[in-house]
């Protein structure tokens, strides 16, 4: 059994890698994943956060912090040691008291993409892995070109690979390199991955989870770690057409590609019906869970157009503007 599983995995991964190989010829560019026209339209978009989050460096977003910018915030009494440059001389002239002008500081936004590269994403036709990479590419591109801090974490059994703190157009090629080289494989441990991400303290910001969200251990514990005031969380659940409308038939022994768990089934109309119901309620529960915790939720089939999803759905959901 295990030998069979291994052989099949080998086959599938080789298939995926061939696909990857074919699209990543000599130089790995982001255009291998995204259409140039699509990228051009992405240029006009920027990330948005529904919260005012604290950035790390100066950026293009207002933060709650008072700092150096042109946006006036408040006055306060001068105390010894304050920077004399920010004294409001007009008030001093009128009142002969020293007041200091305070400004809202403009900070950058951290975009953290949590990308599922476990074995299960390698399945599906078209592959979920490809779709996840496309979405990561699109969001990452939007992030870097608008001087946001972009971190991409590929997770399977915990975070396996990370591309941290990318910022600016110059990082696009690194982004492409990362996305096109990261390989799918291994079991998925979502909670472990979330724990690692939180512990890394990369910074508060927008967290986008790109995954099929089919975790045996459950998604709740993992997501709860992310739901904090520091993060604005979006969950983009990706399911393959096969998962949404199974075309199986006969007496089958279903083998989980990740942990070789088996389920013996005899396909019948009733069973398929129950499967569809179960899937719908699973997705529904996930959405409810996300809504309760103020997170965004989008369900996307791996056969959906990444362009349409990005330009329409994500804009409506508020992640992009």
């Amino acid at each position: 059994m295990s030998r069979y599983l291994a052989a099949t995995k080998q086959k599938i991964s080789s298939k995926i890698s061939i696909k990857m190989e074919s699209i990543t010829h000599t130089k790995r560019k982001l255009t291998d994943l995204l259409e140039p026209q699509f990228m051009a339209r992405l240029d006009g978009l920027d990330l948005a956060s529904r919260r005012m989050l604290r950035g790390q460096t100066q950026g293009q977003r207002l933060s709650k912090r008072r700092g150096q910018s042109v946006e006036f915030a408040d006055h306060r009494q001068y105390t010894a040691g304050d920077d004399l440059r920010f004294l409001d001389w007009n008030i001093y002239a009128r009142l002969e008291q020293l007041f200091l002008k305070l400004f809202l500081e403009e900070q950058d936004l951290t975009l953290h993409i949590l990308m599922d590269v476990s074995e299960s994403t390698a399945t599906g036709e078209p592959s979920k892995a490809l779709f996840i990479r496309k979405m990561a590419a699109a969001l990452g591109y939007v992030g870097v070109v608008h001087h946001n801090r972009v971190t991409i974490s590929a997770f399977a059994d915990g975070v396996t690979l990370q591309l941290a703190n990318q910022r600016g157009r110059g990082c696009v090629s690194r982004l492409a390199e990362f996305l096109l080289t990261v390989e799918s494989g291994g079991p998925s441990a979502f909670e472990k991955a979330c724990k690692q991400v939180v512990q890394d303290r990369i910074g508060s910001g927008v967290v986008v989870v790109l995954s099929d969200m089919l975790f045996k251990e459950g998604y709740e514990a993992g997501l709860k770690r992310l739901f904090s005031r520091h993060y604005d969380v979006y969950v983009i659940q990706t399911l393959s057409p096969e998962e949404r409308q199974p075309t199986l038939s006969g007496d089958l022994k279903l083998v989980d590609i990740e942990d070789a768990d088996m389920a013996e089934i005899t396909i019948s109309a009733a069973l398929l019906n129950y499967y569809r119901k179960t899937l719908a309620s699973y997705c529904d529960q996930l959405q409810q869970f996300c809504m309760r915790h103020g997170a965004g939720y989008v369900l996307a089939g791996s056969d959906a157009s990444a362009e349409r999803l990005t330009l329409n759905t994500l804009r409506k959901s508020g992640l992009l503007r």
Partner: protein
């Protein structure tokens, strides 16, 4: 018991096989999470899903059940609680040999009878009533033979039916009915001849050509008739005779009648052979069957033929219709012609010139005059076997030894023939006589006057030809194979020698007695009749060879009799004696009833018409196993359909 065991073993085996059988295809999927949940839901929400999913198992169980039931051999009793006892009457007469139904009508009748027997319920596990159906089988032609008494042993019945051999006899149902009723009589009948047991039902398998239907009475419910045969076409010899010409005794005339029972004119060649040498072949064309003038019956097309040849010696004549038809038995007929033999007469007398000259006038080949003493001496010797004389004339003599023969007796009757002398008569005239009798043909007894005569007290079976006023004058008595013409007077005490009638009487008597002799030696028999030869020395060994039988060795009894109980088949029988010439016997069908092979759809017993069953014989009990097997097959097909249908989902 076996059925339960079979079920106990096979049903769990099937269930086991069902579970073993599930070799599932392996399919890699991204996650079994949702599937497991779906299965859980399915099981939680629909407890009967398991069974519904196992509809294949259900179908297989049903199919298995059907097969097991089929093995148990259930039977649908079509007749309900009908009679439990049957008598199978199987006609094995000549017409049943017809091959219009292949291989033959008898084989078909046997097949139907066996079908019936096989359809009887067996001793079964699930049999509710212990009373078994009992069947008896009787084969009949001219005689009936119980081939199997009442039994419920199917194998015994089948063997007995299979062993029925075809015969060439005529068919008569009388004996068979008597036997059937005798055996079928309920054992515990009460005074009113009523019994708890129902009367047996008779099943007749025949072509309906039965001679004695009119004499038999059966009830409508008693007998069920299954007709065998379909084709009436048959050309056969229905009569044949070969005899020497009276005038020219070297010449043998063969007469024969052909009959065509078919609906088309029949043409064929007829071949005549004498002693296995074909001497003539003639084409014939016999008319088809036609309605009789009153339009009630159909008459066969008939044609008479005549053929003659010259031979002094004994000969066997065979006539054969060359064209083969359904019935073979009547296509060949034999006749045995004895060697030419002139009349030889022994006159036992003390000397009677009148009688001698009268007998000489009859033109005998040999006339020996013997004294009573000579005769006694000869009779003690080889007289019996050789039979040197055709007729023995006793001229008022008393003899002690009286070998078997034909006698013309004047005066004193021989002893031991139940004729006693009751007294003397005088001056008698003949009061009445039978002018039509061959012995008295053209004889005028009006003028006969007997001065002296005897009062003969005749046995009841005597044939009185002429009577005096006070007693019989001329009579015929048959005793122990001998024939006696008795005259109650000595010829010299009458005026008869002076009458022309006397010579005529002598001539007639000689011819009559000689004819009696030839009747006895004429070897023409019908099938089923015994072959007998009498007058042999005791202990003579003979061998009989005949058609369709192994050679049989027979030994003559002390009375000098050799007897073959029955010549079963048509054809030529040959009886060989050590040191003597062989004797031939011709056994011919010569039976219009049997040659008419058209099967009768309706049997007319006396006052009761019984129609043939139109349905083939499977009515008694309908075995259900073929239907069950079909059902099992259907279930298997359904299972396949369901299976493939499931694959399509």
């Amino acid at each position: 018991m076996m059925g339960i065991w079979a079920a106990a073993i096979s049903v769990p085996l099937l269930v086991l096989l069902y579970f073993l059988k599930l070799k599932r295809r392996e399919q890699l999927i991204s996650s079994t999470l949702l599937w497991k949940k779906a299965i859980q839901d399915l099981q939680v929400n629909a407890p009967f899903q398991k069974i519904r999913r196992n509809i294949l198992l259900l179908l297989q169980l049903l199919a298995l059940g059907a097969i097991l039931l089929a093995l148990a051999g259930p039977v649908l009793r079509m007749m309900g609680s009908g009679p439990k006892r049957y008598v199978l009457l199987i006609d094995r007469s000549a017409s049943m040999n017809a091959t219009d139904v292949l291989p033959s009508r008898l084989a078909e009748a046997k097949r139907q009878a066996k079908t019936f027997v096989e359809s009887l319920p067996k001793e079964r596990l699930f049999s509710l009533n212990r009373a078994q159906t009992q069947v008896m089988a009787i084969a009949f032609d001219k005689t009936a033979k119980v081939v199997c008494n009442f039994t419920s042993d199917r194998q015994q019945l089948l063997r007995a039916i299979e062993a029925i051999e075809p015969g060439d006899g005529a068919s008569q149902i009388g004996q068979a009915l008597t036997a059937a009723r005798a055996f079928a009589q309920p054992i515990e009948a009460d005074a009113n001849n009523r019994s708890a047991e129902e009367p047996a039902r008779l099943l007749l398998f025949s072509d309906g050509r039965i001679e004695d239907l009119e004499k038999q009475a059966v009830g409508q419910e008693e007998l069920e008739y299954h007709v065998v045969g379909k084709n009436p076409d048959n050309l056969g010899i229905i009569a044949m005779q070969a005899r020497r010409d009276f005038e020219d005794t070297q010449r043998v005339d063969v007469f024969l009648t052909l009959a065509n029972y078919g609906t088309n004119p029949a043409a064929s060649d007829v071949e005549f052979s004498v002693n296995d040498t074909v001497v003539s072949v003639r084409p014939v064309n016999v008319d088809k069957e036609a309605l009789s003038t009153d339009g009630k019956a159909t008459l066969p097309g008939k044609m008479s033929m005549e053929f003659s040849f010259r031979s002094e010696d004994a000969a066997v004549v065979r006539v054969r219709i060359v064209k083969e038809d359904a019935l073979v038995a009547d296509n060949t007929a034999y006749a045995v012609v004895s060697a030419r033999k002139n009349l030889s007469i022994a006159l036992v007398s003390e000397g009677n010139a009148v009688l001698r000259s009268a007998l000489k006038a009859c033109g005998p080949g040999k006339l020996d005059e013997l004294t009573p003493a000579d005769f006694e001496t000869k009779a003690a010797g080889d007289f019996l076997v050789q039979q040197p004389y055709d007729v023995i004339v006793l001229d008022n003599v008393a003899i002690q030894k009286r070998p078997r023969g034909r006698y013309l007796v004047f005066g004193q009757p021989p002893s031991g023939i139940d004729v006693t002398v009751g007294g003397q008569l005088e001056n008698q005239f003949v009061a009445d006589w039978r002018t039509r009798h061959p012995v008295l043909q053209y004889v005028n007894l009006n003028t006969l006057f007997a001065a002296r005569g005897l009062v003969l007290q005749m046995p009841r079976d005597a044939e009185i030809l002429a009577e005096f006023t006070k007693g019989p004058a001329i009579s015929v008595v048959r005793r122990q194979g001998s024939v006696f013409i008795l005259t109650a007077f000595d010829v010299v005490s009458t005026n008869w020698p002076f009458e022309p009638g006397f010579v005529l009487f002598c001539y007639n008597a000689m011819q009559y007695l000689a004819a009696q002799a030839s009747v006895e030696t004429d070897g023409s028999l019908q099938p089923g009749e015994p072959i007998m030869v009498e007058g042999l020395p005791a202990g003579t060994e003979t061998t009989v060879i005949g058609p369709g039988m192994a050679s049989v060795k027979l030994t003559a009894t002390d009375a000098g009799l050799v007897r073959l109980p029955a010549a079963e088949h048509t054809g030529l029988y040959r009886m060989e004696f050590a040191g003597r010439e062989a004797k031939y016997f011709a056994v011919n069908l010569n039976d219009e009833q049997e040659s008419r092979i058209a099967p009768l759809e309706t049997l007319t017993f006396s006052g009761q018409e019984i129609k043939a069953q139109t349905k083939p014989l499977s009515r008694a009990n309908l075995p259900l196993w073929p239907y069950l097997v079909l059902a099992a097959l259907g279930l298997c097909l359904l299972e396949w359909w369901v299976y493939t249908g499931k694959m399509r989902l």
